[in-house]
């Protein structure tokens, strides 16, 4: 039976969930939290979302979307353009390439793998920023931001799992 127009529209809307959640997290990350000291070590929320969806529904987020998310992040955060896109693209490609590994793995294993992936991503980001600025920037803040990102993974990951099960289980 061919799906009706409304069914197709519904499926289409559900398929946008990974993109929309990632874009929302980009915006959430730059909202002033008014917590002393937090702003310099803010977690990379978009990285969590890109990683999660690449590991679980790589069919719903193409390279174009990942590139656009990185570009948006660089644009509104004032960082040099291109770095966010590069880091997110490589993370996405790496995880999609290891799709067999992530398929059906438990949350803890995915988190463990994220520790490595986020470490690589932070290192790459730090090197790129230093290269663009023409001088090594202090590695202290990126390192704490990395720890914060790893620590935030269960929280954001849990929210994404909820959304994933609620909206994307059958489509």
């Amino acid at each position: 039976m061919r799906p009706t127009f409304w069914q197709r529209l519904d499926t289409f809307a559900r398929h946008q969930v990974p993109m929309v959640t990632t874009l929302l997290l980009v915006l959430v990350a730059i909202i002033p939290s008014h917590v002393p000291g937090l702003v310099r070590i803010g977690p990379m929320l978009s990285l969590i979302a890109v990683y999660y969806w690449a590991a679980h529904r790589p069919d719903l987020m193409g390279y174009g979307v990942v590139f656009a998310v990185g570009l948006l992040e660089d644009t509104i955060s004032g960082a040099p353009l291109g770095i966010g896109s590069l880091v997110l693209l490589l993370v996405h490609a790496g995880v999609v390439h290891q799709y067999k590994f992530f398929n059906g793995k438990s949350f803890t294993v995915t988190w463990g793998a994220f520790v490595l992936v986020a470490g690589g991503a932070s290192l790459l980001r730090w090197l790129s920023i230093s290269a663009v600025n023409g001088a090594l920037v202090s590695p202290e803040a990126p390192f704490y931001a990395y720890l914060m990102t790893v620590a935030m993974y269960p929280v954001i990951g849990w929210l994404l799992v909820r959304l994933h099960i609620a909206l994307l289980r059958d489509v």
Binding site: I31, V39, I129, V137, A141
Partner: protein
């Protein structure tokens, strides 16, 4: 958890699709590098792109940041209520002290005015300001900047000084139509001519993305001690002289760190001040006082 995973199609179509995906990846990674180079080469173009994009998403960020700032305000309120008696006592003492200073300031003002009139002093251009809400704060090692909800339609222009109640926050680095980016004095790209201490020694305040920017090109390092006040010097015409910036916290061999007066985690509103320094027509038509706030 039982979540549907997509199955890889083994057909020729799947093969073509994976080739296309790989091509797209290579293309987009190349585009990322190209953007990095472009950001270095054509600053104007990149800036225009940034302001347009930021203007487009500014309303969304503005809306999303409101709950966070409401919560922060509520927490502040409770904190203030708890310490209200202590605060009251402190303020009364401070008020007494300030009243004495006021008298001194009045006397000095009159004296200054009469001396200026003796010297045929050319008055400084009048300044005007707009207040704007801080809707985004980007930190980390990447860029130290704020987004504020005021742009060219509110007479905000690139280069204007941004102050909080405590001191200098930074300057406008990009102005869109309804939003603007503030480059903080802690950003790695920020360089501000300053004066240090009572002697008014000239230096350049350079950010390095940490919370403590450092002073460069100091001539007499030994005369600098922790606790010295740092104010703008007005050199290069970027800012008027005398805006409070921060205090010296640490002096090592060849390295002087300062702590800015502004408190980053408490920035909800900032004042964007037009000192009339950049406008070439400012001496013909002095800028009208645009003291309307956006609150």
């Amino acid at each position: 958890m039982s979540v549907k995973q997509p199955s890889a199609s083994p057909s020729r179509l799947g093969h073509i699709r994976s080739l296309v995906a790989r091509f797209a990846l290579v293309l987009l990674v190349g585009a990322s590098f190209a953007l990095m180079l472009l950001g270095k080469a054509d600053i104007l173009l990149v800036e225009r792109f940034r302001t347009t994009a930021t203007d487009a998403v500014a309303p969304a960020i503005d809306m999303m940041s409101r709950p966070a700032s409401s919560v922060a305000e509520m927490v502040d309120n409770v904190r203030e209520l708890i310490g209200i008696r202590e605060e009251n006592r402190r303020l009364r003492q401070e008020n007494e002290r300030l009243l004495r200073w006021q008298t001194t300031a009045r006397q000095l003002e009159t004296q200054g005015e009469s001396l200026k009139s003796l010297l045929n002093f050319v008055p400084e251009p009048q300044s005007s300001f707009v207040s704007a809400r801080v809707v985004a704060d980007t930190g980390g090692s990447f860029a130290q900047s704020l987004l504020v909800t005021a742009g060219e339609q509110d007479t905000v222009e690139k280069g204007q000084a941004v102050m909080s109640g405590e001191g200098l926050v930074g300057r406008i680095s990009e102005a869109g139509r309804r939003s603007a980016r503030v480059l903080l004095i802690t950003d790695i790209n920020s360089r501000i001519p300053v004066m240090v201490g009572n002697a008014g020694q000239r230096a350049i305040l350079a950010g390095d993305n940490s919370d403590r920017p450092r002073l460069l090109f100091l001539k007499a390092l030994q005369s600098i001690v922790p606790g010295d006040r740092v104010v703008t010097s007005g050199d290069a015409g970027a800012f008027p002289p005398g805006l409070p910036v921060g205090v010296v916290t640490a002096v090592n061999d060849s390295d002087v760190k300062i702590e800015p007066y502004f408190q980053r985690d408490r920035l909800s509103y900032v004042r964007i001040i037009d000192f009339g320094l950049s406008g070439i027509l400012s001496d013909i038509a002095p800028p009208t006082s645009k003291a309307d706030s956006k609150r």
